[in-house]
Amino acid sequence: MPTSAPNAAHPPTAPRAGGSPLGDVTASDSSLRRFLHGLPGVDAVGLEARAAALGTRSIKTTAKAYALDLAISMVDLTTLEGADTPGKVRALGAKAVHPDPTDRTAPTTAAVCVYPDMVAAAKEAVAGSGVLVASVATAFPAGRAALGVKLADVRDAVAAGADEIDMVIDRGAFLAGRYLKVYEEIVAVKEASGAARLKVIFETGELSTYDNIRRASWLGMLAGADFIKTSTGKVGVNATPANTLLMLEAVRDFRAQTGVQVGVKPAGGIRTAKDALKFLVLVNETAGGDWLDNHWFRFGASSLLNDLLMQRQKLATGRYSGPDYVTVD
């Protein structure tokens, strides 16, 4: 069973000594490019077919009950709107702590995810519950700001008490091939985050190709990301089974090579319990059971939680539930 205190079994990520785990690949722009372009190309057809095939697994009865609770415990309950108010963040916090007020056996979500200026309000709302507070930072969602501004954004969020920082990479620099700039930015943000775990958002919908997603994954992990995350949820294409599968392969291979485990967070566009269960199958079949824990896998979502709760009620009562029986955010 997933526990409600996600960090209980895991010590905070130890800072990695001696820079990059793969030696000197990050020594210069050209060595980094040589390494990233030396990664094997992605078989797009095979990748999508594999993701689709794993999506056909049938998860029923007790396995489904376990998977639904696990998925609820992995949700980063997110509100990233210009119209966010402290009241809305408090309501979200209350929901994260007690997702289903009618059934106290429902696990808490992993975290709430808000903008930096809402961190204090979120922190207060989830105080004492074990639910973490994640904050987007670094000029989210576009990431188009000077490094100094981004770092100030991060320090702000950390000072307000954020347990996790969700940063965006500079897609412009990445697509222009300036990998070392992206790398150094992540390193700088990691340093500014201090004890907070760092999630690096690639915005896969803007990276155009699967090869780029694979390169970005390795780049992020080399730079010290604790989590790699698909998207901001603010562009057309967000998390898909295929791009998440690709990132899961990357974290699996990275651990095999370096011994360092990195988490994965698909975000955006996952709205139904059925989709969430498909992602859990991907995790189990690709990265393995070690990642089936909210310390290593998260869903960035808001409406997903309601569907998970409705499915949970259906399993408990045998009747189909409806949107009248879950809270409206």
């Binding site: 045998g318 009747r319 189909y320 539930s321 409806g322 949107p323 009248d324 029986y325």
Partner: protein, 328 residues
């Protein structure tokens, strides 16, 4: 969701091709090879689309002589669940449309039906074992019934709503509001006129419907879906399922997001069972009503319209009373 049943293969067409020749089909002319008939794959109508059953199952539909007519989808409870989601999604737009607009849409259904009269006459005749003339009378009555209910959409509020006299300087207005998502068990014997007589009043007032077609005669209902799809009825307002009535009705009666259920097509035992399940979230329940001697041909009253309406009463201040004792 919807692509899975699409791929599950040849349900209707090839499996049974050639088993029974339809009445009235032209004979092959001497010398030339006889033309192979193109069989129609009957499909469900859910959310404005035509999916096969999620379960991939079908069942055989025969005419009154026992001759095979077609394979109809045998819906599962998951099809029912999907239909409720579609109906809920459509409810906001349809209940928010003006009564006048809903009337126009219902009239449009009658217009479209008129154009496909021959098809429905054939399907009703085959299903219920009626003569051409009897079936034609049923179809004509069904078309007229759409027009009848189209006229009621913007008049029902005057009949069941109104301004209430109150002891104070207030307007007190009662207006009818649609109940929500209504599960409809279509009559088992009257495959088309009975069907229209239970669907039209539900959607005329702004409800959305999940309809379970007659178990033995589902084909006219499934064809009605094709008419609704081409007559400005927004997708999801009417969703039509075919299959075992008891199997599909049970999850609908227990479904927490269904607001009312019309038990017209349930027998005594099933109606009782469903009514008990429906009590769980206080659904409105319309018990099976006695059918007139002509089999739904009598002009209906407003009972079916008002069965799925709620009354909303609001108070408005009238402003200061003048010297005459009234400011209006």
């Amino acid at each position: 969701m919807s692509d899975k049943p699409e791929k599950t293969g040849k349900t209707g067409k090839t499996a049974k091709a050639g088993k029974g020749e339809r009445p009235g089909e032209p004979e092959g002319t001497a010398g030339a090879a006889p033309r192979l008939s193109v069989f129609k794959t009957y499909k469900l109508y859910v959310g404005g689309k035509f999916p096969r059953s999620e379960s991939g199952r079908v069942y055989e539909v025969t005419d009154s002589q026992g001759t095979w007519l077609a394979n109809a989808p045998l819906s599962s409870r998951k099809d029912a669940r999907d239909a409720v989601v579609a109906a809920r999604k459509a409810f906001g737009g349809w209940s928010g449309a003006t009564a006048y607009n809903r009337g126009q849409v219902l009239y449009r259904v009658a217009e479209m039906l008129e154009g496909r009269r021959e098809q429905f006459v054939r399907e009703v005749a085959e299903a219920e074992g009626l003569s051409q003339a009897e079936a034609a009378a049923q179809v004509d009555a069904a078309v007229d019934r759409w027009v009848w209910y189209a006229g009621w959409t913007d008049k029902i509020a005057q009949v069941v709503g109104g301004a209430n006299p109150v002891a104070g300087p207030y307007f007190n207005l009662s207006t009818p509001e649609p109940t929500g998502v209504v599960a409809v068990l279509a009559p088992q014997e009257s495959s088309f006129l009975g069907l229209v007589s239970v669907i039209a009043p539900v959607i005329a007032t702004g409800n959305t419907a999940v309809v379970i077609a007659s178990e033995r005669f589902p084909l006219p209902a499934l064809s009605l879906g094709e008419v609704l799809a081409t007559s400005d009825v927004p997708g999801g307002v009417v969703n039509i399922l075919s299959g075992r009535t008891a199997e599909i009705a049970a999850p609908l009666a227990a479904h927490q997001d269904v607001n009312a259920i019309d038990l017209a097509g349930a027998d005594e035992a099933l109606a009782k069972e469903l009514e008990i399940a429906a009590a769980d979230n206080l659904k409105r329940v319309l018990r099976p009503q006695p059918v007139d001697d002509g089999g739904w041909s009598a002009t209906p009253g407003t009972e079916r319209l008002t069965a799925f309406l709620e009354t909303k009463t609001v108070w408005h201040t009238t402003g200061a009373l003048g010297a005459s004792g009234s400011s209006y």
